[in-house]
């Protein structure tokens, strides 16, 4: 269920790297935990983010949750369509529901993240 063309964080974000650009979002599991996402506060273009520091925020009716940057870099693009339709993150978290793209400053950080297989094992052990 979690695509194998990308890697995952313990906080349930994913990053898909193409060249020096990483596309980031939250996982299916994360959107399930959050339930109805009603608001996505996109990061500003040009914002510098550090690995596993808050990059932006998603809100459900009852909760506010940080989205951590899976890798460090500078935000170069955001998914503006989420402003009008935040529910995309629930419906299609891995494709249409991507949240932001970063120009990576430290590509080896990718090695610190979990593969899809390891992330699935992590979900099981984390007793979710």
């Amino acid at each position: 269920m979690n695509p194998s063309d990308r890697k995952y964080t313990k906080e349930h974000e994913w990053v898909k790297v193409e060249g020096d650009i990483g596309t980031c979002g939250i996982t299916h599991h994360a959107q399930e935990l959050l339930t109805d996402i009603v608001f996505v506060e996109l990061p500003a273009i040009g914002k510098k983010v550090e690995q596993m520091k808050s990059a932006c925020v998603v809100e459900s009716v009852k909760s506010v949750s940080d989205v951590y940057a899976p890798m460090g870099g500078e935000v170069v693009e955001t998914n503006k369509t989420l402003e009008g339709d935040p529910g995309k993150v629930n419906r299609d978290p891995f494709e249409e529901g991507w949240i932001f793209k970063i120009k990576l400053t430290n590509p080896p950080e990718y090695d610190t993240l979990m593969t899809a297989d390891r992330y699935e094992a992590y979900l099981k052990t984390a007793s979710h």
Binding site: T35, D36, V38, F39, E41, V57, E59, S60, V61, K62, V64, E83
Partner: protein, 374 residues
């Protein structure tokens, strides 16, 4: 943490359980928004057995209740309920509650129920018992909470569903009246009231009957689109209706006049806190007043977010704080309530809510946000 008599059912329905007021309660079952809309358009069933019920009877019961709540109950007939608040001597709200007046006992003594919030139940009981001990020693106060389950059936189709469980004519229950009846074969108290702004009933039954009644309402309601609903939908529904949540919108640092509860204060009778409230009224000035607002720009206000007069003045202090804030599923906008100085409470007034690092524009609108169509 305490569990309600319906705990097993919540788990079988995949309820997402959270702590609330010392109880383990379902915040939602499948989908908060669907649960919310079910109540507005059809019907929803809530387990609110965490709420507290005290029975007050014996000689002086009437006088005790008159003394501890702000609302005058002298003209109250059996079968009626009222909304009121209990205040400290300083006028701070100890709790908001409802009082049910039953028919007198065979010996002529009056009999009441006081229904209170879960998180304040112990404090409330101590307070009422304290007044009893000092002034009305013959009054008997019994905490019925552990033996009673409370189910709220809310929504326009509530009557159609609930009437299938009883021979009595529930349609003659007007707003804020109740009857003692049998649902299935279990004795219950049923009032036409609730905490959603929608037509509906609050149902009190013995804990051991709760599963049976819950299941039957779900079964009879399913063809009508009834859903079991959690505390999440209860909160969005009550916020739309401009109803107070104790601990968020009101507490002992707020008075009835500062909140929406001016209408439950009867200054023509004696009660605890009256002198302070008269002073506040005579001054014709409130240090803060609750108001409703809608977000003008993008953002969701949340409990305790700060309110500012200006979008830009970084040095300025906040003028108030948000007490409740949520997306409104019915009105499809982001709404909230806040305490602000009185001059900011006029509808149309604009102020700014600090959401993380940004001040986002909001506009005062009249409470309640939502009124059900008649």
């Amino acid at each position: 943490m305490k569990q309600t008599p319906l705990d097993r059912i919540h788990r079988s329905l995949n309820g997402r359980m959270v702590e609330f007021g010392g109880w383990e309660m379902p915040v939602q079952y499948t989908n908060l928004l669907e649960e919310h809309h079910a109540v507005r358009k059809r019907a929803g069933l809530f387990d609110v057995s965490h709420m507290g019920e005290f029975e007050v009877s014996g000689r002086g019961a009437f006088d005790l209740i008159q003394k501890v709540i702000t609302k005058d109950i002298s003209k109250m007939e059996p079968g009626k309920m009222v909304l009121g608040v209990m205040c400290t001597e300083q006028g701070g709200i100890i709790d908001d509650l409802t009082v049910y007046k039953f028919s007198p006992l065979p010996n002529g003594d009056e009999r009441y129920w006081i229904v209170v919030n879960a998180g304040t139940k112990d404090k409330d009981l101590t307070w009422i018992q304290g007044v009893r001990d000092r002034e009305f020693p013959d009054v008997i106060i019994s905490d019925l909470t552990d033996g009673i389950a409370k189910l709220d059936l809310q929504g326009p189709l509530s009557l159609e569903i609930l009437k299938k469980l009883t021979k009595d004519d529930l349609s003659r229950l007007t707003f804020y009246t109740f009857m003692e009846t049998f649902l299935l074969d279990s004795p219950c108290v049923v009032s036409q009231s609730g905490y959603t702004g929608e037509y509906g009933f609050e149902i009190y039954c013995a804990s051991r009957s709760a599963e049976k009644i819950w299941n039957e309402i779900l079964k009879k309601g399913a063809p009508w689109g009834l859903l079991p609903c959690g505390l999440g939908a209860r909160d969005t529904l009550r916020t739309e209706a401009g109803m107070m949540l104790y601990g968020n919108d009101i507490d002992e640092t707020t008075t009835p006049f500062e909140s929406v509860y001016s209408f439950v204060v009867s200054l023509e009778k004696e009660f605890i806190g009256k002198q302070s409230l008269i002073m506040q009224k005579d001054l014709n000035f409130l240090p803060k007043k609750i108001c409703g607002f809608e977000m003008v720009d993008r953002g969701i206000a949340r409990h305790l977010y700060e309110v500012y007069d200006s979008s830009s003045d970084e040095q300025a202090s906040p003028i108030g704080w948000v007490t409740s804030g949520t997306p409104s599923p019915t009105l499809e906008k982001n709404i909230g309530m806040a305490y602000v100085p009185m001059v900011y409470t006029k509808p149309g007034t604009e102020f700014y809510i600090k959401i993380r690092d940004t001040r986002v524009k909001a506009r005062v609108i009249k409470l309640p946000f939502y009124k059900r169509p008649l």
